[in-house]
């Protein structure tokens, strides 16, 4: 009889426990299922050049059913400012961060502390010039390849003969690995053909420095290796401030496309920013969802755009993502 009573109590307890467990699970799945939150920090986040990247991030967040938060930066950041922003995001519950490293030689060092707290994925560029020894995974285009592709397009226009032609190179920053790689890729190709690099400017060129380019020596080609530089070059060309120099560049904004469309830029190499956003977020999401999966860097494609090919069906998607 005592055994029967024990059995009864045990059975009822087990059943009650199972019911409670199921109810909790049901409510947890209904309400408490908190998706991972991934924060994204990019330089001057409101800038048009990030439209495709942000669209890619947004699409990936929807596909992965995770929360995306793009930090409003409003302008360029120093490594320390970037670190502060990232720490603030982590305090606010970010489970992983996607960062465009701020220009600077010690950015990698500054970001090391962040990596100890949450997974970090870099986009656009590595955090140090020595990319091989970097501890951070990077989702980026083949920067060297883009530089080289731009050079090859230029060579195509001149049947490979640029001997004696003069070049001016514009980059926004000197200490950004991606820009260094692009520059190297470009130079490696054109220098073999006897091109002469007259000047190389590596600084943000705002409107109040308009006269700066006029002071530079006249060149045959201005090579803008980032979107902001290309926009600046396009603007100056429109105002005929580049003394007839032809502009070739790398860019990912509708402004860059517009300058190509209006013949101010001869050739545009556009990294697939949508893919960069989508892949970086997906990679981060997968690493968060799997305990033993670490964040891996990705290389995204780029497209060479000419005015003639700009509105081809296969290129319209690039414009579509840039217009989002």
């Amino acid at each position: 009889m005592k055994n029967h009573k024990k059995m009864f109590v045990l059975t009822e307890t087990v059943l009650a426990f199972a019911i409670i467990l199921l109810v909790f699970t049901m409510f947890w799945e209904k309400n408490g299922k908190s998706p991972y939150r991934i924060s994204v920090v990019i330089q001057d986040s409101d800038d048009n050049q990030w439209s495709a990247l942000k669209y890619g991030l947004k699409m990936a967040a929807e596909d992965q059913e995770m929360e995306l938060f793009i930090v409003n930066t409003g302008g360029p950041l120093t490594p320390e400012e970037e670190k502060k922003l990232l720490e603030y995001e982590i305090e606010n519950g970010a489970d992983g961060v996607i960062v465009q490293p701020a220009p600077g030689n010690d950015t990698e060092k500054v970001l090391e502390d962040i990596k100890k707290k949450v997974p970090v994925m870099l986009v656009e560029s590595a955090a140090s010039q020595d990319k091989e020894s970097s501890i951070f995974p990077v989702t980026e285009p083949d920067n060297y390849g883009m530089g080289a592709a731009l050079a090859e397009e230029l060579l195509k226009d001149y049947s490979g003969n640029v001997d004696g032609k003069t070049f001016g190179i514009l980059t926004e920053y000197a200490d950004v690995e991606a820009l260094s790689s692009r520059k190297k890729g470009f130079l490696d190709v054109v220098e073999q053909q006897g091109a002469e690099i007259c000047w190389s400017v590596s600084e943000p060129l705002s409107d109040n420095r308009k006269d700066f380019l006029e002071t530079l020596a006249k060149v045959d080609f201005v090579i803008a290796l980032d979107d902001n530089s290309l926009q600046t070059a396009g603007k100056y060309t429109a105002a005929n401030d580049l003394h007839g120099a032809l502009v070739y560049g790398i860019g990912n904004s509708t402004e860059a496309v517009y300058y190509l469309d209006t013949d101010r830029v001869r050739c545009l190499v556009a990294p697939d920013e949508f893919q960069m956003g989508y892949q970086s977020f997906t990679e981060m999401a997968e690493s968060l969802g799997h305990l033993f999966c670490s964040v891996q860097g990705q290389v995204v494609s780029h497209t060479v755009l000419r005015k003639e090919t700009l509105f081809l069906e296969e290129n319209q998607e690039i414009l579509f993502t840039m217009s989002q």
Binding site: F8, E12, T25, M59, D261, Q275, Q316, L319
Partner: protein
């Protein structure tokens, strides 16, 4: 009970599964129906939108362009186009008219055309020119017509048709282009793509080219895929398909005139997504029912088994010697069983009492019978002695003997009592010995060494006399006047020991042991009643642990001890003992002796 539980649980389980399957099938059907309704509604909205765009195109053509000369009435044409554009600007990006060379004739809003948009090579232009009688809806594309200094590129759907343009009185063909803002269609599609269950809707043209898809860029980038080619081939209806290993329902709704297909996709996982909570509820319901079933089982089993257990418990107590009331309760059957058991026990009790009573009666009768054996025996001996005295003229002795005989019989009778005090018993023994001494001419001596404490104790009457008789007959007869009989009375450990010790011939140990056991022995002398009689009487009254102890040694003498409990002689104790009940010391009253 286990069988009942298993059957109940099985039925419950089957019921639960059947209910779940039925409910899920109905929910699935409901989901498909609601999706179809939603798609019909959206299809109608899309059709309305496209019809309104066609009306814009018709109005531009028939109300504004047709019958007007562009060379002289360009202002009116522009005004008319402006009015229509302004009225529909939420859905329109631009209205433009191109001549058969691809040159811009009129446009609204008025903006700068690109330097060389190469109109004749654009898809919408070629489509219109290839089938002049129709209006053509393009797939979404970037508008490549006007220079937008704000660096914007618009995603539009072009509605193009061939129109007749009049310029300076002559008519030529041209193309009227109405660029619809893609965002209008996007907005409509987004409104229905809100489910997070995996269900989604997309729009494709008749060739399967995607117009809107929630993952449009992923598809064009090769990250995702869509079975739009197959969907475009479907007629309106609901289809089952497996795409990339995923089973799904595809609902197709064709948009009039355009041939576009509005496709709803419900992966089978979406059905279960909606029913996830129902699954939980079903399992919880089953568990609750199981809990209730176990509880009800328990209650029922307790209700049935509890009276049985109580009954069993009371029977066990009864068997253990207690006398509880037999439990009578529970169902009718159990109550009847209890009543039967109770009745049986009552019967047993009655029978037991009857048996005890009969046993006591039998013992008493036996005692009385044994006692009655003595009297004739002794009377014969005594009278024999008196006769002998009278014949030998020993009148004083005869008188003494008769006096002693009288005392002897007074004690023997004791008002018919079986239990007397030891004092009376000793008196009886003394009388007897006095009689015997006379008979045997004082050929032996008798000594009484009695502890006064034993006088007030109870004894069965007439137990010393047979022993003394034996001592005389077997111990003194052959001793030629030096025989001695000592009667010792003492109390030891709650017992009274009355010993008769003689210094006679004694007997071997084997013979002594037979005195109290061998019923078939024929005595050489005496009445034949003897010590066996005495021993039985003591044991009948006081129990087996009491009685006689015989110690004898050949040529040394014999000692026969009577061992009885030291029970104070009171009227109450006497009555208890005489009643024939088995002797227990607890039942006796204590009294200082």
């Amino acid at each position: 009970m286990i069988t009942f539980s298993v059957i109940s649980l099985s039925i419950l389980l089957i019921l639960g599964v059947v209910m779940y399957l039925r409910f899920s099938a109905s929910a699935r059907q409901e989901m498909i129906s609601s999706t179809q309704k939603l798609m019909e509604q959206t299809g109608e909205n899309l059709e309305d939108y496209l019809v309104s765009m066609r009306r814009v195109s018709d109005s531009v053509y028939y109300n504004v362009i047709k019958g007007r000369d562009f060379s002289s009435q360009d202002q009116e044409i522009q005004r008319g186009m402006n009015l229509l554009y302004e009225a529909n600007r939420d859905n329109l990006r631009s209205i433009a008219v191109y001549n058969n060379f691809g040159s811009l004739v009129a446009a609204e809003p008025v903006v700068l055309q690109k330097e060389d948009p190469n109109i004749t090579q654009q898809g919408w232009y070629q489509q219109a020119m290839s089938e002049m009688e129709n209006m053509h809806f393009s797939t979404p594309h970037i508008q490549n017509l006007f220079d937008d200094a704000a660096f914007r590129y618009y995603w539009v759907i072009s509605l193009s048709r061939v129109v007749e343009l009049t310029k300076q009185g002559s008519t030529q063909l041209g193309v009227l282009l109405v660029d619809m803002d893609y965002s209008s269609i996007e907005r409509m599609m987004k409104q229905i793509n809100t489910s997070n269950s995996g269900q989604y809707f997309y729009l494709c043209d008749g060739d399967g080219k995607i117009i809107y898809h929630t993952r449009q860029i992923q598809i064009s980038n090769g990250i995702a895929e869509e079975n739009s080619l197959q969907a475009a081939a479907y007629k309106d209806g609901v289809y089952d398909e497996v795409f990339h290993g995923e089973r799904r329902k595809v609902i197709v709704n064709t948009i009039s005139y355009t041939g576009w297909k509005l496709v709803g996709v419900i992966p089978y996982s979406a059905f279960t997504y909606g029913m996830f909570n129902i699954r939980y509820f079903s399992v919880i319901f089953l568990l609750l029912m199981a809990m209730m079933l176990v509880f009800v089982n328990r209650v029922v089993s307790v209700r049935i088994s509890s009276p049985i257990l109580k009954l069993s418990h009371s029977i066990l107590e009864y068997e253990a010697g207690k006398t509880p009331e037999i439990y009578i309760g529970g169902s009718e059957e159990i109550r009847y069983l209890g009543l039967s058991v109770q009745s049986s026990y009552e019967q047993i009790d009655k029978l037991m009492k009857k048996i005890v009573l009969e046993q006591n009666e039998r013992r008493k009768s036996e005692l009385d019978a044994l006692q009655s054996q003595i009297n004739p025996h002794f009377l014969y001996n005594a009278l024999d002695s008196i006769i002998w005295m009278v014949e030998s003229k020993r009148n004083d002795d005869a008188a003494f003997m008769i006096s002693e005989l009288a005392k002897f019989f007074r004690v023997s009778l004791s008002k018919g009592r079986t239990v007397i005090s030891i004092r009376d018993e000793l008196q009886h023994a003394k009388s007897y010995m006095n009689i015997q001494k006379i008979r045997y001419k004082n050929s032996f001596s008798v000594v009484f060494e009695i502890d006064p404490a034993v006088y007030g104790c109870c004894t069965v009457k007439l137990i010393l006399q047979p022993i003394l008789e034996n001592a005389i007959n077997y111990g003194m007869v052959d001793l030629d006047g030096c025989g001695e009989i000592k009667v010792v009375g003492k109390q030891e450990n709650g017992k009274v020991i009355l010993s008769v010790i003689d210094n006679g011939m004694g007997m071997p140990e084997e013979e002594a042991s037979l005195l109290l056991t061998d019923d078939s022995r024929i005595p050489k002398r005496g009445s034949g009643v003897g010590m066996l009689n005495v021993n039985k009487r003591i044991q009948v009254l006081f129990g087996k642990e009491y009685g006689l102890i015989v110690k004898s040694e050949l040529d040394e003498g014999t000692e026969v001890s009577i061992c009885i409990p030291a029970v104070p002689y009171t009227e109450e104790n006497r009555k208890i003992l005489e009643k024939g009940s088995a002797f227990t010391r607890e039942g006796m009253t204590e009294k200082e002796i």
